[in-house]
């Protein structure tokens, strides 16, 4: 059977990241409501409560009408610290902008947290589209250590527009960590 729970979880997680974005429109208006209320001599707490209520209602209205803003843009930084802080990883596509439906290569730079390049690491690659619950269409892998902490990642391909993640599992002399990058295509 399909794991519907997992799908829902992913989608709910996506939704939980959303509020900041969905309030792009209502948020200033909620603040404006609070300002009006202040002029009417209401307490800051009361104003805040009312502003929050308006914020909530407008967020709902926003959801109904501003369907274009379904999800917040994920952080698409190409320079990230690994989950447990052991490494700083930088990705750079050899083809810019990252193409759709075309096999291409990336250079992955691996450094320790203090900036020392890490050679001889074992790096595995995984990824997919979290909102669609599927993986990458290819099996990309590191094919060459380029020296100075740089690695060639070949076989990268994306076949749909949207939000993708690419996760690297890193093992350098027994120190293991992972890091996930977001891409919007």
């Amino acid at each position: 059977m399909i794991d519907k729970t997992r799908v829902t979880d992913i989608r709910e997680t996506g939704t939980r990241d959303v509020p900041r974005d969905e309030t792009l429109c209502p948020s200033p208006i909620a603040l404006q409501t609070a300002a009006i209320d202040r002029r009417h001599g209401k307490s800051a707490q009361e104003s805040l409560f009312q502003a929050s209520s308006a914020f909530f209602i407008l967020a709902l209205i926003g959801l109904l009408f501003v369907t274009d803003l379904r999800a917040a843009d994920p952080d698409t930084a190409t320079n990230r610290t690994s989950d447990n802080g052991h490494f700083v990883v930088v990705i750079e596509s050899r083809v810019e902008p990252i193409p759709l439906n075309s096999l291409h290569a990336w250079v992955v730079s691996l450094n320790t947290a203090d900036g020392t390049p890490v050679d001889d690491a074992a790096i595995d690659v995984d990824g997919g589209m979290p909102m669609h619950n599927h993986g990458l269409p290819t099996a990309p892998r590191i094919t060459e250590a380029l020296g100075d902490g740089k690695y060639l990642l070949e076989g990268v391909k994306f076949q749909m527009p949207g939000h993708w993640t690419v996760t690297f599992g890193i093992d350098a002399d027994g120190t293991t960590d992972s890091v996930t990058f977001n891409l919007m295509l």
């Binding site: 399909i2 429109c25 209502p26 407008l58 209205i61 009408f65 619950n133 599927h134 993986g135 099996a139």
Partner: protein, 423 residues
């Protein structure tokens, strides 16, 4: 709630609606939408990709040779089956059937060939990775041409025109007068008798015969690479948008088609898979085209990728001659994962209406409306969750179908290649 607060809320809601991106877009296209439309336009089609294992892929003599082979009804064990039996030019190189029918019936629907040169994968399950390797399978398949490798060698050797064409492109044929070494019929995939004949041959002679066979695939590829889609009304509409010619835009697509196009790139989510200038990502997806209460009998890409890796004619195989560096799709192929189960290659939507139904890999839907209803329903597949119900309204079905008809256009192919050679 006080009156002033209601007013503020109402005002806020009105502002929110007024400044939502959809309202701002109005009936015009946003810059982002225009970028998307351009990505789907035929003008975004890159030049023909290289065919790493085929040095004659763009040789005009190979095109002419392949043209004759494509229409030759003697290509196989009967005098009744040609490539064109199933790939009919006036039906978009399809046959109007749910299953291809030659000597027997094939397992899946006949695929369209227009624009096929741009696909890294061939067949519905991608079990071949080049157009030349693809062309070989039907030639030996008992339900299609039903021929054997040795039979094709003798066909070429005994036909003066074929022989000249072959030898001018690829050099001398093996000495086919030596029937002890090269019997008239036999191959690795034929009947038990034909296989026995093949097994009795030396591996060097087998290699020679298989090389000739692979070269027939290469000239068939050269011909099929010329089957290229041309500009459809949709493409002319995008040109008019780019040229900011609004009068032209209205003449090219009607209101329903424009609404259908908007649905196509947004709410109906067609672009997840039908993207790029050929409106296909040429990858594999399980879209639930089988009964939802049991696992599918046709396992699609799961079987396809196994066959691909075992294929002696693949990009890294002994008959390829390609630089391994040019075989990226095969080297980095995804060979496991639930996504491969019952997944089939996304077909191009160009000329989807004029080619006629039935649709899908198993020909299970007679009309485009049936296909749209399938994606609207997005029934559970037991395997993947790539789709969600669309909740389309009746008018939106009509609009989407009207748009799909705007993808019908003439081929950008020399018309002489669409008729039998010499016609």
């Amino acid at each position: 709630m006080s009156r002033s607060r209601r007013t503020v809320l109402a005002l806020s809601a009105a502002l929110c609606i007024a400044f939502s991106p959809s309202a701002l877009a109005g009936d015009k296209w946003t810059d982002e939408e225009i970028r998307v439309l351009q990505s789907l336009s035929i003008d975004a089609l890159p030049p023909l990709p290289a065919s790493p294992g085929n040095p004659v892929a763009d040789d005009p003599d190979a095109v002419a040779f392949g043209h004759r082979l494509f229409f030759d009804r003697e290509l196989g064990s009967t005098d009744a089956v040609a490539c064109v039996t199933c790939h009919q030019p006036d039906r978009g190189f399809r046959d109007g059937l749910a299953r291809g029918r030659a000597i027997g019936e094939t397992r899946r629907r006949t695929m369209n060939l227009v624009g096929v040169a741009w696909s890294p994968w061939l067949f519905w399950d991608g079990r071949r990775d080049s157009l030349w390797a693809q062309a070989l399978e039907p030639l030996e398949h008992p339900a299609e041409h039903g021929g054997t490798r040795l039979g094709y060698l003798h066909l070429i050797a005994n036909d003066a025109d074929y022989r000249i064409r072959y030898e001018s492109l690829f050099g001398a044929l093996p000495d086919t007068t030596d029937r002890a070494r090269f019997p008239l019929s036999g191959g690795p995939l034929g009947t038990p008798e034909e296989r026995a004949v093949w097994q009795a041959m030396s591996s060097a002679d087998q290699h020679q015969v298989s090389t000739v066979f692979a070269n027939l695939g290469r000239v068939l590829e050269a011909y099929q690479r010329r089957l290229v889609p041309g500009a459809a009304p949709f493409d002319r509409y995008v040109r008019a948008i780019v040229d900011a010619d609004s009068a032209d835009q209205q003449q090219i697509l009607d209101e329903r088609q424009v609404s259908g196009l908007k649905l196509f790139i947004d709410k109906a989510r067609c672009m997840h898979c039908h993207n790029g200038p050929l409106l296909t990502n040429n990858e594999f997806h399980n879209t639930g085209v089988f009964p939802s209460d049991r696992l599918p009998e046709d396992r699609g890409r799961v079987e396809g990728v196994k066959a691909l890796l075992d294929d002696e004619f693949n990009c890294l195989g002994k008959y390829s001659g390609a630089d391994p560096g040019a075989c990226g799709e095969l080297r980095f192929v995804k060979s496991s994962g639930i996504e491969l189960v019952a997944a089939f290659r996304t077909p191009s939507l160009r000329n989807i209406a004029s080619s006629g139904g039935p649709y899908m890999h198993d020909g299970s839907f007679a009309t485009l409306r049936d296909v749209l209803e399938h994606y609207d329903e997005a029934r559970a597949t037991l395997i993947s969750d790539d789709l969600e119900p669309l909740s389309l309204e009746e008018s939106q079905f009509v609009e989407l179908e009207a748009f799909l008809r705007a993808l019908d256009g003439p081929l950008a192919t020399d018309p002489s290649l669409l008729a039998p050679p010499g016609d």
